[in-house]
Every structure is written in structure tokens, then in C-alpha cells.
Symmetry: C2
Subunit: 412 residues, 2 copies
């Protein structure tokens, strides 16, 4: 398929400030109650004009108050003006008071930027089961609002303010040109990490100057998330707060609609590129990991089978431990593929580490053994398993399991 657009994706740029009509800020207000005003913990993203909003959320039964609130707001399908996010407290398992706190957080922002509270989305990440220190948060939001800017510094501070155990901020910008028109999509994220160290969470915020309806944005965001944020695993644990939010304010005047396939395709490519880059950064900055491994399953009956086997392999403790140890242990891979219980036959399986054959119809290609070792010693490599049952394929990005992960997560 020929593409009628040009796309340029840049990682580790300043951030959301690079999209017209958005202002951002980061502030510090000691949400962690550590008398530490040097650590940024409140981020604010504001669109100058009302924007189309959409989100993808954790499917955990136990959802934090901000998640429940955002889902409700986005169902009402109004335009949005802002996203407020804090690190240090997840506002999860906090009952009716947690929901009130989330609502009040939106009101605080609305008052400051002159919008309706329903036009403000809220995200939290951090400790579970503790009430939000609302006075502190209010101070932080006020400071952030006073600093709102499209400067590089402001964008950097916002990206820092959502970090918990992340070792680095995660930002990306994708610009597409199609038929002389240009759309920008920028994103920032925080990764799967423990919060002091109570909960793994990923948050991602994506903004664009595209003009798009809510139903179409919803579709584009879901398509992007399904193949990126939903195809990564660090430890197989899914949080109460996982959220991806996207705001499109139309300031480019470029309309994305079903009626212009080229523009739609270009926008989809940009939002997917931003999501993919952020997702890869999240795995690559997973807690105490040393490797990022792409697990590809090909020749499957259908995508569901391929995905199930990818996840079974990517979440196996034994597989992940052997990656850490640079051990080309194909037995653990076939074992994990088997206990996905999708109906595979070992005698049909071909397997490769990067381009090197490991199994041919289930039998090891022992001559390649020295090469296997070289590949699994690398920081990133790809495992490709062909089931030889059909033509469907899927892939996920997975991390290894290290002694340091256990040490880091074993207690407060």
C-alpha cells in the first residue's frame, strides 16, 4: 500500500508545547508528604480552545476514582479544555471521598482556567488507599496554572511531574504532511513503575492540532493503543489507574474525517507512531529491567491465538529469568507457548532468535547454538515463533525479570 503522506517522528523532544494551541506546566506541592518541594508532582495541560477528547483506560475491576470520573465525562461527549495529573498518590481504593476529591480537583482547574469542570480530565498515579492531600494539590494546581506556557521548559517540567519510579521523562512528537497540509501529534508518558512502591501504573497524554470528531478520535486512539500500549508487558500486573488520554483542538484547521482517506490515514499513522514510541519507552524504562524482547508469533490460526501465545511467553517467569541470564532456553519458550492452551503442535513449530533458526519443525538446529547465545546476550532482540497453522500474527514487547526487580518491589 503506497502512503500518500510524509511522517517525521522525533523522540525526547521537549513535549506537548510543540503542538499549536496547547499550554503546559509542572509544579511541586509535596503530595508524597516528604517535605520535598523540589520534586515536581502536578502537571497541567490546557488547550486554548475547546478540544475533542478521548481516552483508553484500565480494564481492571478496581478502578481509581479519576478513571471512573474520566470515563463518565468522556461518555457525555463534551469538548474538553484541560488535563490535570499528579504523581505520588493514586486516589485508588478511596471510596466516596476519593471521588469527591477527583471532582474537586477538576473544579479547581476549571476555576483557574475559566472552563466548566466537565471540561477537565484528571489522572493520578502513586500510592493506593490513601486520601489525596487536597490543600497541597490545590496549591500545586494554582502554581501550575500561573506558569502555563508553550515553552520548552514548561513541557519538560510537565513530563517530569508525572514520573514515579521512571528514570527518565518520556516524550515524542510526530508530524505528518499530507497534500500540503500538516498535523502535529505530541505525547508524554510515565511508565510501569511502583509508587513508593505501591502500584504499577502507566499514564500517557497525547495532544494534536487535528480537527476531528469524538467518535472518529475514539476509533483512531483505540486502534493506536491496541497495537502499542496494549502490546507491552513488564511484569504482567495491570494497575487501577492505567490511562491514555488524547485531546485534539483543531488549531491546524486540518480536518480528519472518514471522507478524506489520505488525511485519516496520515493522522492514524501519527497517533500510532507516538503511541508506539511511548510504549517502547515504557518497557525500556521498566523497573530494573535489562532487556526489551520483541515476541512475535506468526502462522497462527487467528490473531487471538497469536496474542495469547505472545502473552504467555512474555509473562512467563522462567522465560523472563532466562532472558536476564542470557540463556537461549528454547524449552521454556515452547513450554510457555504450550500452556497458553490454544491447541498448538510442537512438531510444526519453527523458532528464530533474530534471524537465526533455533527450531525447525520442533527439532533444535543445534549447529546454530553458538549464535543463539550471541543474540540473547544483546539488550534487545526478537523471538519469532511460527506455528505453521495459519496466516495470522501478533507481537508484543516484553521485559526480562531481574533480581533487582524483586529487591525493588519487595517492600517499602
Amino acid at each position: 500500500m503506497a502512503e500518500n503522506f510524509k511522517i517525521q517522528t522525533t523522540e525526547d523532544v521537549a513535549g506537548l508545547n510543540l503542538v499549536k494551541g496547547f499550554k503546559v506546566a509542572g509544579a511541586a506541592c509535596d503530595i508524597r508528604n516528604k517535605n520535598d518541594m523540589s520534586r515536581l508532582d502536578v502537571a497541567l495541560i490546557v488547550s486554548d480552545i475547546p478540544a475533542t477528547g478521548s481516552g483508553v483506560f484500565t480494564t481492571n475491576d478496581v478502578k481509581a476514582a479519576p478513571v471512573v470520573l474520566d470515563i463518565k465525562k468522556l461518555e457525555q461527549s463534551k469538548t474538553m479544555r484541560a488535563i490535570v495529573a499528579n504523581s505520588g498518590n493514586a486516589n485508588a481504593c478511596t471510596g466516596a471521598r476519593g471521588m469527591e476529591d477527583a471532582e474537586n480537583t477538576c473544579k479547581i482547574v476549571a476555576d483557574l482556567i475559566g472552563s466548566d469542570p466537565d471540561q477537565v480530565l484528571v489522572c493520578s498515579t502513586g500510592r493506593i488507599g490513601e486520601f489525596m492531600p487536597m490543600q497541597k494539590l490545590k496549591n500545586g494546581i494554582s502554581e501550575a496554572a500561573s506558569k502555563l506556557s508553550d515553552s520548552e521548559q514548561a513541557a519538560k517540567e510537565a513530563a517530569l511531574a508525572i514520573m514515579t519510579s521512571d528514570t527518565r521523562p518520556k516524550t515524542v512528537l510526530s508530524v505528518v504532511e499530507v497534500g500540503g497540509k500538516k498535523i502535529s501529534v505530541a505525547g508524554m508518558a510515565k511508565g510501569a513503575g511502583m509508587i513508593e512502591p505501591n502500584m504499577a501504573t502507566m499514564l500517557a497524554f497525547i495532544v494534536s492540532d487535528a480537527k476531528i470528531s469524538q467518535p472518529l478520535l475514539k476509533k483512531c486512539l483505540k486502534t493506536a493503543a491496541d497495537k502499542t500500549f496494549n502490546r507491552i508487558t513488564v511484569d504482567g500486573d495491570m494497575s487501577t489507574n492505567d490511562t491514555v488520554l488524547c485531546l485534539c483542538n483543531g488549531s491546524s484547521q486540518v480536518e480528519v474525517s472518514e471522507s478524506d482517506k489520505d488525511i485519516l490515514e496520515a493522522f492514524q499513522a501519527a497517533i500510532t507512531a507516538v503511541s508506539r514510541a511511548l510504549a517502547r519507552k515504557i518497557v525500556g524504562d521498566g523497573e530494573k529491567i535489562t532487556k526489551v524482547v520483541e515476541v512475535k508469533v506468526e502462522g497462527a490460526r487467528d490473531e487471538a491465538q497469536a496474542e495469547k501465545i505472545c502473552r504467555s511467553i512474555g509473562n512467563s517467569l522462567l522465560v523472563k529469568s532466562s532472558w536476564f541470564g542470557c540463556d537461549p532456553n528454547w524449552g521454556r519458550l515452547t513450554d510457555a507457548a504450550g500452556y497458553a492452551r490454544t491447541g498448538i503442535s510442537i512438531d510444526k513449530i519453527d523458532l528464530w532468535y533474530d534471524g537465526v533458526e533455533v527450531l525447525k519443525k520442533g527439532q533444535p538446529v543445534d549447529a546454530n547454538k553458538p549464535l543463539w547465545r550471541e543474540i540473547v546476550a544483546k539488550k534487545t532482540f526478537t523471538i519469532t515463533m511460527n506455528l505453521n497453522m495459519g496466516s495470522a500474527s501478533e507481537a508484543i514487547l516484553a521485559a526480562d525479570l531481574t533480581e533487582e526487580y524483586v529487591n525493588f518491589n519487595k517492600g517499602e
Copy 2:
């Protein structure tokens, strides 16, 4: 329900020799190819007379040759005379030759004890993807056959011969008396451990002097296994070789049938007691673990929901890491319960560590916090989560996740 039987269960007894009409042996033949003839690696269990046999096997798509062969034999519903088992080589992912080797192993035993090869069951545990050293195995089986005995020494050697990374042999005897009649059930097992270090496997062999039909034995064994061997988790990985085999030779002359509920109930109690004790030993000797935690879910809609949540909690890396660290991290428990995605409501959940309340309708009982810490510092404790949705319950035994587990399993 009043029980009409007396049951006595003794752990760490010599083993299978204590059941009438069975002889056992262990021998060494260097299956690991390490020039080590001091390590026992072949076990033989022989019934003097034809016995009813049944088995429970891994549901992994990738089944080792012995598993495929035993399933086929037991489907034919003949009487059995013997079980032969080896450690050091799993005979898994070995294709047509592996199947031939498994068949030949049975023939070797049959020739030596004077039975039909179809009356011999075979199990293997160890390295995956390598062919069995058949000449060595034959030597080992010959030696074992020449040493068959009902002595304590023989039983000890058999229990040692199936061990891989186990740190201790696992044996148990249960004797039930019902209406003046006595039935003995004895078992030995090897636990979930890596083999040099390629594959986790559990094997359990149970023998009894009860007289029972194959269909009824199958039912009793499945009932016992479902609540014991199928309710444990060390690392969530399921092997290609997991097998539980049971032989009943009728030498007690006590008939177990549907027509005498007291005897049936007594036999079921004994086989379940043996299975439970062995299952607990398997978790307790899990690789490099430090704790065994019982996870109970009560007040569930149905047993399937309760089981799903038990497994989600028991297999969560974050939960297991916090157990290792003696951290009473209830947030990780509710999070894992939520991502089982069975439709729970956090506002209904009550939670206890042993008898101490942690959450009441989803809200932490902070006054008990010092007590939580005491409990999770223990080597064994129970987590009870009441969903307050219905009346079903389930429980599993789970282990913690340690840095040493990762170190042990990271490579050869």
C-alpha cells in the same frame, strides 16, 4: 457432616513400601551424563498383582512423550503392573524418537517383571529437547528391578531418584479405618523445580491396597487432584511433564464402590489427604521460596470466580515480591483481584491477614496495621478475601518470589 471413618496421615514416612503388595526401588545410571553414579535417577514401582490405574496430566499443548503414552494406555483401561520414572531428562520435544524411547522403556520394564508393556506406565522429568540415553536408562532399570523390595531403604531410594532441584524427598502415608476395615494410601512426589535448569515439573505417584474400578478411581483421583495439586502455584509456569499416577492393587480386599458410601468417603478422604500433603510439600520446597501463603477467596458468585481471583493474586509478581519482603501491601492484592476481571466491587471487599482485619468494605482498618506486619513476616499465613457477592469459595497455596529464584533460574 459426621464422618464414619478414622483417618491417620503421617508425613515423611519411608514411602510406598508401606502399602501391601507393592515393591519399589531406586537406582543410579547417570542420565545427566555427568559421570555421576552416586545420584539416584531411576525409580521403579511394581505391584505384585495387576492393579487399577489412573492418572491426571498436564493440560499443556506441548506434552512430553511419556505423558502422551500414559494417557493412551490409561484410556485403554487395562490393569497396570508398574510405573517407571527417571529424573535428569524430560523426554519432551523429542518427536518420534522420543515416543519410541518411551515405548522401549516400558518394554524393558515389562521384560524384567514379566508383564505386558501396556501394563507399564512411564514418567520422565528433567532437561527438555534431548534424547534419552537409552543404554544408560536400561542399565538403571535392570539394577532397580534386581533391587525391588518393600524395605524402608528401597522406598527412600525411590523417592530420592525422582528428585531434581528438590531439596528433600516428599512422602506421605494415610491409613483409614471404616467399619473394621482398613485401607492404606501412600504417595511420593517431586516438586516444581528446574531441571539443570530447564523445566519445572511435578510428578506424584500414589499407591493403595484398595480394590476399586478404574472409572471410580479416575473420579476419586480427579476430585483429590482438583483441590490439591491443581490448587498450588510456585511461579505460574506449567510444565510439559506434570503427572499424577495412582495404582490400586486391591490387596486389602476392601472394595471401594458407589454402593458403600462410608468406604467410598473414607477412601476419598485418604487419597485427598495424601494429595494435599504432597501438594503442600511441593510448594514448601519450591525453588528458593521463603514463604507459603494460602490465598482464600470467599463470598464469590461461583467457584470459578473465586478460583480466578485466587490465581490472579497468587501469580502476581508484585504480590509475590511483597510477600518476600514481609510487606503487608493490600493495594497489590486488591489490584490483582481486580485485574482477574470477574466483576468485583472494591467497596464490598473485606480482607484479612490470618484473623486480622485489613479492609472493611474496601476501606483499610489502619488501627490493625502493626498486626498486619507481624503476620506477613511469618513463614506461612493466610489471606482471606471476602467479595460479599455470593457464597462460593476457593483457596490455593502460593509461594513468594525471591531474588534467589531469579538468580537460580536465569541460566545454566
